[in-house]
């Protein structure tokens, strides 16, 4: 990890954002998103991009900020004004929650300091007694366990492992710049749905080539669930997620309120 020293102080994107908000003496409920986004981007430009794990987390937040910024620039539809949600709301909620834990961890730090002044002693069981070793009744301990159960447990673990050797993710080595068309993907999922009606979530991903594509596909599915155009189910743990396409047409993303 070779982040410049001045940045090392930040634990993550939320930490950095809180710092910027603090530094600018900004009201957290009314974040001037344009300025903050610029400052944020300025900061991460200064970061060493060698550590992709850390970098990517900061980039995700950058994308969120830009997304909020673009939403705020869009003219609000007069008719929907009454229920319009501030695009910053979700971010504000996250920041507040995070801030709360930061605050509480300071309180815990004090408590730990107080408690560290209390001392305990090691067990001193007299040697005459300490030879005794507790007998554990293995039979009753194992009474509910059958070979079949043990086998099933192991099977589910191996299955999980196999899932983890994710052929897609194991191919990640670098982050590439690529153009993913969100609205196109959104429509593609629906086309696939109209054609197959019921299909495995996995099969949706078969044509995807990159992490970003998978993420976008996943977001699309989530959005379709939210607006009630698809239904998902899973028969048992670790089974494939089945998707049922409920609608009989295809809608544009704008219509879905993405």
């Amino acid at each position: 990890m070779s982040i410049p020293v001045k940045l090392q102080a930040f634990e993550g994107p939320l930490d950095l954002l809180l710092h910027l908000i603090d530094k600018n003496k900004i009201n957290i409920y009314d974040i001037p998103i344009v300025e903050i986004t610029e400052q944020y981007l300025e900061y991460i430009k200064g970061m060493d991009s060698k550590d992709l794990d850390i970098m990517s987390e900061f980039l995700v937040m950058a994308a969120t900020l830009i997304n909020i910024k673009s939403k705020m620039l869009l003219p609000t539809d007069e008719s929907e004004e009454a229920e319009a949600v501030d695009p910053r709301q979700e971010l504000v909620d996250r920041l507040l929650e995070y801030k709360m834990y930061k605050y509480i961890s300071e309180e815990l730090k004090d408590k730990q300091l107080d408690a560290s002044r209390i001392l305990f002693k090691q067990p001193t069981i007299p040697s005459e007694i300490s030879d005794y070793k507790e007998e554990i009744d293995i039979d009753s301990l194992m009474s509910d366990l059958t070979l079949q159960k043990l086998h099933d447990i192991f099977k589910s673990i191996v299955k999980k492992q196999a899932d983890k050797i994710d052929p897609i993710r194991s191919k990640f080595g670098k982050i590439e710049k690529e153009e993913i068309n969100l609205s196109q993907t959104f429509i593609h999922i629906q086309e696939y749905g109209l054609l197959h009606r019921t299909f495995r979530f996995r099969s949706l991903l078969e044509a995807t080539k990159s992490k970003m594509e998978i993420i976008v596909t996943f977001l699309g599915v989530l959005e379709l669930i939210k607006i009630g155009r698809i239904r998902i189910e899973q028969e048992a743990l670790f089974d494939d997620i089945m998707i049922h396409y409920l609608a009989n047409d295809i809608i544009q993303m704008e219509g879905a309120g993405f």
Binding site: L14, M100, I104, I118, T124
Partner: protein, 185 residues
């Protein structure tokens, strides 16, 4: 006599002993035992005692009074246990207040990967696995341990500093005041 037995048990065992076990050793019911212990706890608070009994989630443990610390460090070196960094403290607070919680949920709140912090806290016995979540992938659920209560001087999880929703309100007020300030200008 019963008090002597309880003192001997707590002294010998060193660790926290569950009420149930103490009662079992004394052939008393738990309620009576609990009353006797709490009566003892009051006595220990007298000036001439340097140790007292603390309660940890229904178990009892003997330890020195905090006021004795200055004297004890004169006679022996007390190794600092684990020094918790801000990252660890932050992660620990999230686990403490949101338990049982998965690593992913922690990461969602912190906005960063938290493997290292979670593993360190497990290593320090401050948090532990509490089973798996009944959800796809069956992620591991994490919660705090007895060691956590001891390290932070808490009788039980209920003794955690309260934060919602008043604290949130404070934050809000703070923000509103700032806003007001700006509007006034």
């Amino acid at each position: 006599m019963v008090e002597a037995q309880i003192e001997a048990i707590l002294f010998t065992m060193g660790e926290a002993v569950e009420l149930e076990r103490i009662a079992g050793a004394l052939d008393h019911d738990e309620e009576t035992t609990r009353k006797i212990i709490h009566n003892m706890m009051d006595k220990y608070e007298q000036e001439d005692r340097g140790i007292h009994i603390i309660e940890l989630d229904g178990a009892y443990q003997l330890c020195t009074k905090a006021s004795m610390y200055e004297t004890i460090i004169k006679i022996t070196h007390i190794p600092r246990k684990h020094i918790l960094t801000d990252v660890l403290l932050e992660t620990l607070s999230i686990v403490a207040y949101k338990q049982p919680i998965t690593k992913l949920q922690i990461e969602a709140i912190r906005g960063v990967k938290s493997d290292h912090a979670v593993n360190k806290l497990i290593e320090y016995s401050l948090i532990c696995e509490m089973g798996r979540m009944d959800a796809p992938g069956r992620p591991i659920l994490l919660g705090t341990t007895e060691e956590f209560l001891r390290c932070f001087g808490l009788q039980s999880l209920e003794a955690l500093p309260i934060m919602n929703p008043e604290k949130l309100e404070d934050f809000k007020l703070e923000a509103e005041e700032e806003l007001q300030l700006k509007l006034d200008i």
